[in-house]
Protein backbone atom coordinates (compact mmCIF):
# COMPACT_ATOMS: atom_id res chain seq x y z
CA UNK A 1 0.00 0.00 0.00
CA UNK A 2 2.87 2.34 0.93
CA UNK A 3 4.59 1.61 -2.41
CA UNK A 4 1.42 2.42 -4.34
CA UNK A 5 1.01 5.69 -2.42
CA UNK A 6 4.60 6.71 -3.18
CA UNK A 7 4.18 5.79 -6.85
CA UNK A 8 0.98 7.85 -7.10
CA UNK A 9 2.65 10.80 -5.37
CA UNK A 10 5.63 10.70 -7.75
CA UNK A 11 3.24 10.41 -10.72
CA UNK A 12 1.20 13.40 -9.49
CA UNK A 13 4.31 15.56 -8.95
CA UNK A 14 5.74 14.61 -12.38
CA UNK A 15 2.43 15.32 -14.10
CA UNK A 16 2.17 18.68 -12.35
CA UNK A 17 5.68 19.63 -13.46
CA UNK A 18 5.05 18.50 -17.04
CA UNK A 19 1.69 20.17 -17.46
CA UNK A 20 2.40 23.28 -15.40
CA UNK A 21 3.26 26.49 -17.15
CA UNK A 22 1.67 29.37 -18.89
CA UNK A 23 -0.91 27.85 -21.15
CA UNK A 24 -1.41 24.64 -23.07
CA UNK A 25 0.40 24.29 -26.36
CA UNK A 26 -1.22 23.14 -29.58
CA UNK A 27 0.51 22.16 -32.82
CA UNK A 28 3.93 23.47 -33.75
CA UNK A 29 6.15 25.57 -31.53
CA UNK A 30 5.61 29.30 -31.85
CA UNK A 31 8.65 30.78 -33.58
CA UNK A 32 7.73 34.44 -34.12
CA UNK A 33 8.58 36.97 -31.43
CA UNK A 34 6.67 40.06 -32.54
CA UNK A 35 2.91 40.14 -32.30
CA UNK A 36 0.66 41.61 -34.97
CA UNK A 37 -2.54 43.31 -33.87
CA UNK A 38 -5.71 41.62 -35.09
CA UNK A 39 -7.13 45.08 -35.70
CA UNK A 40 -4.23 45.84 -38.06
CA UNK A 41 -4.87 42.65 -40.06
CA UNK A 42 -8.59 43.40 -40.29
CA UNK A 43 -8.10 46.99 -41.34
CA UNK A 44 -5.58 46.16 -44.07
CA UNK A 45 -5.87 42.42 -44.78
CA UNK A 46 -4.34 42.51 -48.27
CA UNK A 47 -1.06 43.71 -46.74
CA UNK A 48 -0.87 40.56 -44.60
CA UNK A 49 -2.18 38.06 -47.18
CA UNK A 50 0.25 35.13 -47.34
CA UNK A 51 2.30 36.43 -44.40
CA UNK A 52 3.09 34.55 -41.22
CA UNK A 53 1.82 36.36 -38.13
CA UNK A 54 1.67 35.96 -34.37
CA UNK A 55 -1.61 37.21 -32.94
CA UNK A 56 -3.08 37.38 -29.46
CA UNK A 57 -6.72 37.60 -28.51
CA UNK A 58 -9.53 36.14 -26.48
CA UNK A 59 -11.08 32.95 -27.83
CA UNK A 60 -14.68 33.96 -28.58
CA UNK A 61 -15.71 30.96 -30.66
CA UNK A 62 -14.69 27.31 -30.98
CA UNK A 63 -15.77 24.70 -33.53
CA UNK A 64 -18.15 22.55 -31.48
CA UNK A 65 -17.90 19.27 -33.33
CA UNK A 66 -14.25 18.95 -34.31
CA UNK A 67 -12.34 21.78 -32.63
CA UNK A 68 -10.90 22.68 -36.04
CA UNK A 69 -11.22 26.46 -35.71
CA UNK A 70 -11.34 29.21 -33.16
CA UNK A 71 -12.31 32.85 -33.39
CA UNK A 72 -10.09 35.43 -31.72
CA UNK A 73 -11.30 38.84 -30.67
CA UNK A 74 -9.34 41.92 -31.63
CA UNK A 75 -8.10 44.72 -29.41
CA UNK A 76 -11.28 46.72 -29.92
CA UNK A 77 -14.96 45.82 -29.78
CA UNK A 78 -16.56 44.22 -32.85
CA UNK A 79 -13.26 42.79 -34.15
CA UNK A 80 -12.69 39.08 -34.60
CA UNK A 81 -10.76 36.77 -36.89
CA UNK A 82 -11.10 33.07 -37.55
CA UNK A 83 -8.15 30.75 -37.07
CA UNK A 84 -8.58 27.56 -39.08
CA UNK A 85 -6.40 24.52 -38.52
CA UNK A 86 -6.11 21.25 -40.42
CA UNK A 87 -8.67 18.77 -39.10
CA UNK A 88 -7.12 16.48 -36.51
CA UNK A 89 -3.71 18.19 -36.53
CA UNK A 90 -4.79 20.62 -33.83
CA UNK A 91 -8.00 20.15 -31.86
CA UNK A 92 -9.13 23.13 -29.82
CA UNK A 93 -11.21 22.27 -26.76
CA UNK A 94 -14.49 24.04 -26.04
CA UNK A 95 -13.05 25.03 -22.67
CA UNK A 96 -10.82 27.48 -24.56
CA UNK A 97 -13.75 29.88 -24.94
CA UNK A 98 -13.09 33.08 -23.04
CA UNK A 99 -9.37 32.37 -22.54
CA UNK A 100 -6.46 34.32 -23.96
CA UNK A 101 -4.73 32.67 -26.90
CA UNK A 102 -1.50 33.24 -28.73
CA UNK A 103 -1.61 31.90 -32.28
CA UNK A 104 0.96 31.66 -35.02
CA UNK A 105 -0.23 31.19 -38.57
CA UNK A 106 -0.52 32.50 -42.07
CA UNK A 107 -3.09 35.01 -43.24
CA UNK A 108 -5.08 33.85 -46.25
CA UNK A 109 -8.31 34.70 -47.98
CA UNK A 110 -11.33 32.61 -48.87
CA UNK A 111 -14.25 33.41 -51.14
CA UNK A 112 -17.49 32.82 -49.32
CA UNK A 113 -20.97 33.08 -50.66
CA UNK A 114 -23.06 35.86 -49.23
CA UNK A 115 -26.46 34.68 -48.10
CA UNK A 116 -28.94 35.35 -50.85
CA UNK A 117 -31.90 37.48 -49.94
CA UNK A 118 -33.57 36.74 -53.25
CA UNK A 119 -34.16 40.41 -53.72
CA UNK A 120 -33.90 42.40 -56.94
CA UNK A 121 -35.58 40.88 -59.92
CA UNK A 122 -36.46 37.69 -58.11
CA UNK A 123 -40.16 37.38 -57.69
CA UNK A 124 -42.11 36.22 -54.65
CA UNK A 125 -42.48 32.81 -56.26
CA UNK A 126 -38.72 32.34 -56.53
CA UNK A 127 -38.00 33.28 -52.94
CA UNK A 128 -38.67 29.72 -51.88
CA UNK A 129 -36.23 28.42 -54.47
CA UNK A 130 -32.97 30.11 -53.55
CA UNK A 131 -30.95 27.87 -55.87
CA UNK A 132 -32.74 29.31 -58.87
CA UNK A 133 -31.96 32.82 -57.70
CA UNK A 134 -28.39 32.72 -59.00
CA UNK A 135 -28.33 36.34 -60.11
CA UNK A 136 -28.63 37.63 -56.55
CA UNK A 137 -25.84 35.47 -55.16
CA UNK A 138 -22.64 37.34 -54.45
CA UNK A 139 -19.34 36.26 -53.02
CA UNK A 140 -17.08 38.11 -50.65
CA UNK A 141 -13.46 37.75 -49.68
CA UNK A 142 -12.92 36.82 -46.05
CA UNK A 143 -9.51 36.83 -44.40
CA UNK A 144 -8.61 34.09 -41.94
CA UNK A 145 -5.49 32.71 -40.34
CA UNK A 146 -4.26 29.20 -41.05
CA UNK A 147 -3.05 28.21 -37.62
CA UNK A 148 0.18 26.25 -37.17
CA UNK A 149 0.74 26.56 -33.45
CA UNK A 150 -1.07 28.02 -30.48
CA UNK A 151 -0.79 28.59 -26.76
CA UNK A 152 -4.03 28.96 -24.80
Amino acid sequence: MKKISYALLIFAITATIIFAGDGKKYGKEISLKNKTKIGDILSNPAKYDGKKVLVEGTVVGVCESRGCWIELSGEKDFQKIKVKVNDGEIVFPLEAKGKKALVEGEVYSVEVEKKSDCSGTCGEKDKSKEDECQHTKKTEKVYQIKGFGAKI
Partner: protein, 184 residues
Protein backbone atom coordinates in the same frame (compact mmCIF):
# COMPACT_ATOMS: atom_id res chain seq x y z
CA UNK B 1 8.22 -26.54 -27.25
CA UNK B 2 6.35 -26.45 -30.56
CA UNK B 3 5.34 -23.27 -32.43
CA UNK B 4 1.64 -23.59 -31.52
CA UNK B 5 2.37 -23.54 -27.82
CA UNK B 6 4.40 -20.34 -28.25
CA UNK B 7 1.66 -18.91 -30.44
CA UNK B 8 -0.91 -19.57 -27.72
CA UNK B 9 1.24 -18.18 -24.93
CA UNK B 10 1.94 -14.97 -26.86
CA UNK B 11 -1.68 -14.66 -28.00
CA UNK B 12 -2.88 -15.03 -24.41
CA UNK B 13 -0.39 -12.69 -22.72
CA UNK B 14 -0.33 -9.99 -25.39
CA UNK B 15 -4.13 -10.27 -25.37
CA UNK B 16 -4.19 -9.52 -21.63
CA UNK B 17 -1.97 -6.48 -22.16
CA UNK B 18 -4.18 -5.23 -25.00
CA UNK B 19 -7.54 -5.43 -23.18
CA UNK B 20 -7.38 -1.86 -21.86
CA UNK B 21 -6.49 -0.31 -25.21
CA UNK B 22 -9.02 -2.44 -27.10
CA UNK B 23 -11.78 -1.19 -24.79
CA UNK B 24 -10.59 2.45 -25.08
CA UNK B 25 -10.44 2.33 -28.88
CA UNK B 26 -13.78 0.50 -29.14
CA UNK B 27 -15.68 2.94 -26.91
CA UNK B 28 -14.25 5.90 -28.78
CA UNK B 29 -14.88 4.16 -32.12
CA UNK B 30 -18.59 3.94 -31.37
CA UNK B 31 -18.63 7.51 -30.03
CA UNK B 32 -17.00 9.14 -33.05
CA UNK B 33 -18.85 6.89 -35.50
CA UNK B 34 -22.01 8.83 -34.61
CA UNK B 35 -20.46 12.30 -34.70
CA UNK B 36 -23.29 13.59 -36.90
CA UNK B 37 -25.85 12.63 -34.23
CA UNK B 38 -24.12 13.87 -31.10
CA UNK B 39 -21.05 15.60 -29.76
CA UNK B 40 -18.78 12.77 -28.55
CA UNK B 41 -16.75 15.02 -26.24
CA UNK B 42 -19.20 17.43 -24.67
CA UNK B 43 -22.73 17.68 -23.35
CA UNK B 44 -23.92 21.06 -24.60
CA UNK B 45 -27.03 22.52 -23.09
CA UNK B 46 -28.71 25.59 -24.55
CA UNK B 47 -31.34 27.61 -22.73
CA UNK B 48 -33.08 30.84 -23.66
CA UNK B 49 -34.08 33.56 -21.19
CA UNK B 50 -35.65 36.97 -21.42
CA UNK B 51 -34.27 40.00 -19.59
CA UNK B 52 -35.07 43.70 -19.68
CA UNK B 53 -33.51 45.20 -22.82
CA UNK B 54 -30.33 47.17 -22.15
CA UNK B 55 -30.94 50.28 -24.20
CA UNK B 56 -28.67 52.75 -22.37
CA UNK B 57 -25.97 53.47 -24.95
CA UNK B 58 -23.82 55.32 -22.41
CA UNK B 59 -23.08 52.11 -20.50
CA UNK B 60 -19.61 50.63 -20.87
CA UNK B 61 -19.18 46.95 -21.75
CA UNK B 62 -18.20 46.22 -18.12
CA UNK B 63 -21.40 47.83 -16.89
CA UNK B 64 -23.45 45.87 -19.45
CA UNK B 65 -21.85 42.61 -18.25
CA UNK B 66 -22.79 43.43 -14.64
CA UNK B 67 -26.33 44.38 -15.66
CA UNK B 68 -26.92 41.22 -17.70
CA UNK B 69 -25.52 38.97 -14.95
CA UNK B 70 -27.59 40.66 -12.27
CA UNK B 71 -30.73 40.30 -14.41
CA UNK B 72 -29.96 36.60 -14.73
CA UNK B 73 -28.96 36.36 -11.02
CA UNK B 74 -25.66 34.73 -11.95
CA UNK B 75 -22.75 35.28 -9.56
CA UNK B 76 -20.05 33.23 -11.36
CA UNK B 77 -16.78 35.00 -12.01
CA UNK B 78 -16.36 36.38 -15.53
CA UNK B 79 -13.47 35.02 -17.61
CA UNK B 80 -13.93 37.60 -20.37
CA UNK B 81 -16.52 39.12 -22.67
CA UNK B 82 -16.82 40.08 -26.30
CA UNK B 83 -19.02 42.41 -28.33
CA UNK B 84 -19.41 41.22 -31.89
CA UNK B 85 -21.85 44.03 -32.64
CA UNK B 86 -23.33 46.98 -30.83
CA UNK B 87 -26.59 45.26 -29.98
CA UNK B 88 -25.02 42.11 -28.53
CA UNK B 89 -22.57 40.84 -25.97
CA UNK B 90 -21.06 37.46 -25.18
CA UNK B 91 -19.98 36.77 -21.62
CA UNK B 92 -17.65 33.86 -20.93
CA UNK B 93 -17.86 32.13 -17.56
CA UNK B 94 -16.35 28.82 -16.49
CA UNK B 95 -18.16 26.18 -18.57
CA UNK B 96 -20.80 28.68 -19.63
CA UNK B 97 -21.29 31.24 -22.41
CA UNK B 98 -23.97 33.88 -22.20
CA UNK B 99 -25.01 35.51 -25.48
CA UNK B 100 -27.32 38.47 -25.09
CA UNK B 101 -29.18 40.51 -27.63
CA UNK B 102 -29.33 43.78 -25.73
CA UNK B 103 -32.00 45.48 -27.81
CA UNK B 104 -34.65 42.79 -27.38
CA UNK B 105 -33.37 41.29 -24.12
CA UNK B 106 -33.05 37.75 -25.49
CA UNK B 107 -30.36 35.72 -23.73
CA UNK B 108 -28.97 32.33 -24.69
CA UNK B 109 -26.99 30.42 -22.11
CA UNK B 110 -24.83 27.59 -23.35
CA UNK B 111 -23.49 25.22 -20.73
CA UNK B 112 -20.71 22.84 -21.64
CA UNK B 113 -19.83 19.72 -19.68
CA UNK B 114 -17.28 17.06 -20.54
CA UNK B 115 -18.44 13.56 -21.39
CA UNK B 116 -16.26 11.93 -18.76
CA UNK B 117 -14.37 8.81 -19.87
CA UNK B 118 -15.65 9.04 -23.48
CA UNK B 119 -13.82 12.35 -23.97
CA UNK B 120 -10.61 10.80 -22.63
CA UNK B 121 -10.98 7.74 -24.88
CA UNK B 122 -11.50 10.04 -27.90
CA UNK B 123 -8.43 12.03 -26.88
CA UNK B 124 -6.32 8.89 -27.14
CA UNK B 125 -8.11 7.22 -30.05
CA UNK B 126 -7.87 10.32 -32.27
CA UNK B 127 -4.24 10.80 -31.25
CA UNK B 128 -4.62 14.25 -29.80
CA UNK B 129 -1.60 13.81 -27.50
CA UNK B 130 0.62 13.24 -30.60
CA UNK B 131 4.34 12.80 -29.69
CA UNK B 132 5.10 9.43 -28.06
CA UNK B 133 1.44 8.35 -28.12
CA UNK B 134 1.73 8.07 -31.92
CA UNK B 135 4.21 5.22 -31.46
CA UNK B 136 2.16 3.60 -28.70
CA UNK B 137 -0.83 3.62 -31.07
CA UNK B 138 1.30 2.19 -33.91
CA UNK B 139 2.56 -0.58 -31.62
CA UNK B 140 -1.02 -1.30 -30.57
CA UNK B 141 -2.11 -1.55 -34.22
CA UNK B 142 0.69 -4.03 -34.93
CA UNK B 143 -0.32 -5.93 -31.80
CA UNK B 144 -3.88 -6.18 -33.10
CA UNK B 145 -2.59 -7.66 -36.36
CA UNK B 146 -0.58 -10.17 -34.36
CA UNK B 147 -3.59 -11.06 -32.20
CA UNK B 148 -5.76 -11.52 -35.28
CA UNK B 149 -3.29 -13.84 -37.00
CA UNK B 150 -2.15 -15.75 -33.92
CA UNK B 151 -5.81 -16.21 -32.95
CA UNK B 152 -6.34 -18.25 -36.11
CA UNK B 153 -3.95 -20.91 -34.88
CA UNK B 154 -4.92 -21.25 -31.22
CA UNK B 155 -7.02 -24.37 -31.79
CA UNK B 156 -6.37 -27.44 -33.85
CA UNK B 157 -8.87 -29.72 -35.55
CA UNK B 158 -12.52 -29.17 -36.46
CA UNK B 159 -12.91 -25.98 -34.44
CA UNK B 160 -9.55 -24.63 -35.57
CA UNK B 161 -8.49 -22.83 -38.72
CA UNK B 162 -8.30 -26.08 -40.68
CA UNK B 163 -11.92 -26.81 -39.77
CA UNK B 164 -14.63 -24.17 -39.63
CA UNK B 165 -12.16 -21.41 -38.81
CA UNK B 166 -11.23 -20.74 -42.42
CA UNK B 167 -14.88 -20.38 -43.43
CA UNK B 168 -15.68 -17.99 -40.61
CA UNK B 169 -12.58 -15.97 -41.50
CA UNK B 170 -13.82 -15.82 -45.09
CA UNK B 171 -17.18 -14.44 -43.91
CA UNK B 172 -15.26 -11.82 -41.96
CA UNK B 173 -13.45 -10.72 -45.12
CA UNK B 174 -16.64 -10.78 -47.18
CA UNK B 175 -18.44 -8.26 -44.94
CA UNK B 176 -16.23 -5.27 -45.84
CA UNK B 177 -15.84 -6.48 -49.45
CA UNK B 178 -19.63 -6.58 -49.95
CA UNK B 179 -20.01 -3.10 -48.45
CA UNK B 180 -17.28 -1.80 -50.76
CA UNK B 181 -19.03 -3.33 -53.78
CA UNK B 182 -22.35 -1.74 -52.84
CA UNK B 183 -21.13 1.66 -51.68
CA UNK B 184 -18.15 2.43 -53.94
Amino acid sequence: MNWRKWNNILHRDIGYISVGLIIIYSISGIAVNHISDWNPNYIINKQTFKIKPVSDSTLSSDQIVKKVLSELKINDSVKSFFRSEKKSIEIFLEGKTISANLTIGKVNIETVKNRTIIKETNFLHLNHPKKIWTYVADAFAITLIFLAISGLFVLKGKKGFEGRGKWLMLIGFLIPILFLIFYL
